[in-house]
Amino acid sequence: MNGTVVKLIGAAGLVATVAAGCSQSMADPKAAGGAVATAPASAGTKAAWLRASLNTMLQEHVYLAAAATNAALNGREAEFKAAASALDDNGVGIAKAIGSVYGADAEKAFLPLWRRHIGFAVDYTVGVATGDRGKQDRAVNDLVGYSQDFGAFLSSANPNLPKSVVADLVKHHVVTLKDVIDAQASKDQARAYAALRAAAGHMRMIADPLADAIVKQFPEKFRG
């Protein structure tokens, strides 16, 4: 199993999988996410729509990430590739959502930053699968460092989002996803799914304040 996992999600393989998915998904409507097709016409529901959309996309991120790690840990290559591709489509959709508010340059800067943390999660999964404690620890350190990057990005985009607050929320996301991967690796299904529900549920702690901060930053866009 260890050799299969490394083969599946070695860094080069994942990059190729993600890139192949990306080149199609940028022009593909499904890149925006199935639940985020169009905004409602009524200005009064725009803020609620934004909050619901961000929650949907961020929860989807957790479920797809867990699907990819579970497939990788269990040597299901075709499933891993499909899940990784869908995970990248989700990331492209989140980047587009950022771009819809902050412009194309912000979208262009966000996506590689987002993909970076997925790479660190891959590193952690490989470390777990191969029993490499050093690799696990480095991946966790990278993810904690990433939380500062993500906090800084959103803080630059929106002054209503303090860097430290966002960084702490992302750190918690890292911890909850780590719990999922650990449970999957131990083949404790009950624990894995409990951890998955907790990880997905936590994304509301990021999506809600992000939506609120955007509405506060651009009240004219959400008036109603």
Binding site: D105, P112, L113, A152, S156, K163
Partner: protein
Amino acid sequence: MRIAARAAACASAGAVIALATAAGAGEVRVRLFQFSPAAVEVPAGARVVWTNDDDIRHTVTAGVPERRDGGFDLALEGRGATGAVEFLRPGVYPYFCERHGHMRGEVRVK
């Protein structure tokens, strides 16, 4: 290719070095994990000043991630930090952020 460049980094948060008003000075803002403008053109002998608007450490490192050329390497420690490089010879000088390799920029010296 080695370039003759003098680099000065000011890492104090909140300190901003006023740009020289002499013709030829270039300015690059580092914001939202991008160098803006991505490409700046200056005459030979001019300085380019980078100002970090992000609350995170970025670098201005000569070359590309796969091959640094050692020409300059500025550390911009956080919001408000600035650094400058004087470019004496014509040419195109790519650079990137060592911490965030997708961040790329270019100085074109006439």
